[in-house]
Amino acid sequence: MGTPIIIQLKGVEKTLGGQPVLRGVDLAIPKGDITTIIGPSGEGKSVLLKHIIGLMRPDRGQVLVDGVNIAQIHDRELNQIRKKFSMLFQSAALFDSMDVFDNVAFPLREKRLVSESDVQRYVPEMLERVGLGKMGHKFPAELSGGMKKRAGLARALVMGPEIILFDEPTTGLDPLMAHAIHDLILAMHKTFGFTGIMVSHEIPRIFPISDWVAMLKNGKILAMERSEEFQRLSDPLVREFISVPDAMATT
């Protein structure tokens, strides 16, 4: 592939509630690019994402982040590795006891990396970037789905992470808003240059914003290619999955 690899999964297996979800996932995530994992609902895409950040540990296999196997390290070391990461959750997972400003400021204040005056300067700047300039005083319950995602993205970006995980960033949004969120992710990627790993079933919208696309099927990675090449794959399972929305869009 040529590009350096930042995260590598080797033979990751996971059984949840007696049901095998991941059956030997092998995946290499190129550094600095956006890689999107697609696949039918309930295939374990979110489970896969949780393995990458160590929220779940595999029953078997390795998860290598910059060469360190996080599947078997102590919580304390895992927290060191996690400093490279941010995650935008499906529900945005904003802390509902805090307003948007405090949510975005939370990681900065909690880690005490910068002074409070820097927080006061930096957070509005970040809110402005994601299009929530005047929303800092609002509480998560007062925000629309799209605004929550924007706030979640601002919180994910604020620590300047190397890697950001996106768990279905556009689920539950109307097509216009989904488009806006995709554009925002792409713009932020250009600005900050993080490695993005996205889980989505927004086909075909994810193709233009992804550098790489991988498909999870039956607990394994069926294929991983550059975005343009992925769309030309002839594998019948891939074709079936990526052409259904096409057909729906034309009708």
């Binding site: 996690r82 990461f85 959750f89 509902d96 990681p107 620590m159 995980l165």
Partner: protein, 255 residues
């Protein structure tokens, strides 16, 4: 064979859960000694668990003291020893009813809310969000609640005792005509330091039980609205039962 397997599986599951609960308690307390010390969080939780429970504690204490005086008066009058009413009320309050009833009220009011709050944070992935920010969720969420509960419950119990004894005075002295002087002097002569000490010890352990059980049930809630409802019910029932059982054990040790 299936029956035996079924019983075995349930026993193993129960033992595993007990182990998980104990680990949860030890880990949460272990974090107590690690910086950052979240003083603001602790004060916020004390406001919620302690201060906001004062009204309900005063109300229940007042009526408990009043009914104790009423019952005690009619029993003691048979032996012509109404003068001992104060000590009867004070001893049952300080040794038994204060710690148990105040803790049960805190469980019902604050314990259920603790389970619901933590459970919702679990379901909406807020706990996962903390973890992804490399912030230990036990350290951030649970430890302050345990400390706050540990401090607040003994204070509420002390308040309960005082108000209860006052309620007994209202009924015994003002309503039934026991002499005020003998009410207070019988308390002074009958209540020993051991009684007070036992009550404090009980209230401290009940404070731990409440936050421990209620936080545990919320933290490991099943990922659904139904699961959260079940967790809240279970936490109140389990905490209440544990308080009463532990009360018996502790009393038999202390006596």
């Amino acid at each position: 064979m299936n029956l035996i397997q079924g019983i075995g599986a349930r026993v193993v599951a129960q033992i595993e859960e007990m182990g998980a609960m104990l680990l949860f308690l030890l880990r949460s307390f272990g974090w107590l000694f690690q910086p950052p010390f979240r003083l603001f969080q602790i004060i916020k939780q004390m406001h919620f668990i302690g201060f906001k429970s004062t009204f309900v504690v005063i109300l229940t204490a007042l009526f408990t003291g009043m009914v104790l005086a009423l019952q005690g008066y009619y029993s003691l009058r048979k032996f012509g020893s109404e003068g001992l009413l104060g000590s009867a009320v004070a001893l049952s309050m300080i040794r038994e009813l204060g710690p148990v009833l105040a803790s049960l009220m805190v469980t019902a009011r604050a314990g259920s809310a603790m389970t619901a709050e933590i459970g919702i944070m679990r379901i909406t992935e807020q706990i996962d969000a903390l973890e992804t920010m490399a912030i230990n969720s036990l350290h951030y969420l649970i430890t302050p609640k345990m400390v706050a509960s540990l401090i607040s419950v003994p204070l509420l119990v002390a308040l309960f005792d005082v108000v209860g004894i006052g309620g007994g005075y209202l009924v015994g002295v003002n309503l039934l005509g026991v002499s005020g002087g003998s009410y207070w002097s019988s308390i002074e002569s009958a209540v020993e330091w051991e009684d007070v000490y036992g009550g404090i010890l009980k209230s401290i352990s009940f404070g731990i039980i409440i936050s421990w059980v209620c936080c545990y049930k919320g933290y490991f809630t099943k990922m659904s609205a139904e699961g959260l409802g079940k967790a809240t019910t279970e936490s109140v029932v389990l905490a209440s039962v544990l308080i009463l059982m532990w009360d018996y054990v502790l009393t038999s040790i202390l006596l």
